[in-house]
């Protein structure tokens, strides 16, 4: 926890140049990185989506296409992850993996707490809202992973092969911890209210909701395909394995192309949520930008400590900083119905996600260079 003040300082140091008050060299390095990132199809498709919504344009992505792409992306991340993990495992056993895995789990436990504390005690939000938002920021966004991974590959610094495994590890703990905090702290309130209304206390849906998170689509597909990719890499002959690899591999055209369409739809939705920025107020907007920078730096730093390479640190930073907008929302809605979903979803989808896609990822990359990752 003593890392936190340091993390804050560095994050701010990295955020500041963006505001134009830093050494010319650092600014220009970041600007080049930004341009390299921004003027590529993936963020541009996101932008197109936002523009289209704002001018009431007619692009409509059928939700079945969106879901199908999500399924493909998750399967792909898992399968290729399992494949790479098998190679890593064959070469080094668990020697290279256990430290980053532990670091990731640690981050999955810390980030919901930092988020909750900031929201409740600095932002003064209600217990339910604080815990609900914390659940989103404690988990991760697989699409942010995919975009970050594309970025470091395009930058010539591919991440360590087992990063997809880390994404899988990061999905659940943060949601669980935030919901437990929320449920525990609001139990008293509920009891009081129930007594008042003369009806018995509703049984909490916490257990049910946690089970649903842990067996949700994201985890089942990523972890399931991770195992499948691992096993079939070990047991199939490479020729038979090839077509599956071609279909799923993330360097390939299908993955990048699918990402474009996916980001277009996310832009369409984010465009709508932009209208809610006023409703959620300046504190949450600041939170949605600064917390990712802090969490991102923690991810980069601990990743570096755990031995990740340059790309790996940047990607770990990106996934730790990102907020879930698929697994977390329904779990929060069920467990903490008093929480207003407009807050959490606007923050995750209309602030943090675009910030990360456009600026965060190149910044984490620079942070990773800064901490000395290679």
């Amino acid at each position: 926890m003593m890392l936190l003040p340091f993390a804050v300082a560095v994050s701010v140091a990295f955020a500041v140049p963006l505001l134009g008050e830093a050494s010319a060299d650092q600014v220009s390095r970041i600007l080049v990185s930004l341009q390299k990132n921004l003027l590529t199809p993936i963020p541009l498709c996101f932008l197109l989506g936002i523009i289209c919504t704002r001018i009431h344009g007619g692009i409509k992505i059928p939700k079945e296409l969106y879901y199908s792409i999500a399924i493909f992306l998750l399967m792909s991340i898992g399968f290729i992850g399992g494949h790479e993990l098998a190679h890593e495992y064959q070469a080094h056993g668990v020697a290279t993996i256990w430290k980053p895995a532990l670091a990731t789990l640690f981050l999955g436990c810390v980030t919901p707490i930092t988020s909750f504390v900031v929201l409740r005690y600095i932002g003064g939000m209600s217990i339910a809202d604080s815990a609900g938002i914390a659940a989103h920021y404690g988990s991760t966004s697989a699409v942010t992973y995919a975009v970050a991974n594309s970025f470091v590959e395009q930058a010539g610094h591919p991440a360590n092969s087992f990063l997809p495994t880390l994404v899988t590890l990061l999905e659940c703990p943060g949601i669980a911890i935030a919901l437990v905090i929320g449920a525990a702290l609001s139990a008293k309130e509920r009891a009081a209210r129930a007594a008042e209304s003369g009806r018995k206390v509703k049984e909490s849906k916490l257990g049910e909701a946690l089970y649903e998170v842990m067996t949700g689509q994201s985890i089942m597909l990523m972890a399931g395909l991770l195992v499948i990719g691992f096993v079939s890499t070990l047991y199939m002959d490479p020729k038979g394995f090839q077509p599956f690899y071609d279909f799923f591999q993330s360097k390939g055209m299908l993955f990048r192309g699918a990402l474009c369409i996916f980001l277009l739809e996310m832009g369409l939705v984010a465009g709508e949520k932009l209208g809610d920025l006023l409703k959620v107020g300046p504190f949450l907007v600041a939170f949605g930008i600064l917390i990712p920078l802090i969490h991102g730096f923690l991810g980069v730093y601990l990743g570096h400590m755990a031995g990740l390479n340059l790309g790996g640190c940047a990607v770990l930073g990106a996934i730790v900083s990102s907020a879930s907008y698929i697994a977390a929302p329904p779990a929060v809605r069920l467990t903490l119905p008093e929480a207003n979903p407009t807050y959490s979803i606007t923050a995750a989808l209309a602030i943090t996600f675009p910030f990360n896609i456009a600026f965060g990822i190149p910044i984490y990359f620079e942070m990773a260079k800064f901490v000395g990752a290679q």
Binding site: Y66, D276, Y325, I326, P330, R333, P337, T342, L349
Partner: protein, 108 residues
């Protein structure tokens, strides 16, 4: 052909709770239900987290039931869900073909 006077309880609400409500209806005496996907707009529909990317998910569920079951279901929904969730529910009169078989637990 026998027509039998029964009630239909129609519930429209955000997706996270609608499967629970459908199951609850069956527990409370409905012999089945009919569910469909709709696009909803109301005073609280912004609460619907189905409306993140992937599209608006509001569900409608209908129960064909005797009056007492109808009342029980509506009562339950009113107390358990109305406060915090985007939901609307109403009751209407229908004459059901061979309707006696949809009264299974109506004594409950």
């Amino acid at each position: 052909m026998q027509l039998y006077p029964l009630k239909i309880v129609t519930v429209v609400g955000e997706s996270v709770i609608m499967e629970d409500i459908a199951e609850r209806g069956v527990e409370l005496g409905a012999t089945g239900y009919t569910m469909s996907e709709v696009i909803g707009h109301g005073s609280r529909s912004a609460r619907n987290v189905g409306s993140t990317a992937g599209g608006a998910k509001t569900l409608k569920v209908e129960f064909v039931v005797p009056t007492d079951v109808a009342t029980t279901i509506l009562d339950e929904i009113s107390h358990e869900y109305f406060e915090h969730y985007a939901i609307i529910a109403w009751l209407s009169d229908v004459s059901v073909m061979r309707g006696e078989q949809y009264t299974r637990k109506s004594g409950g």
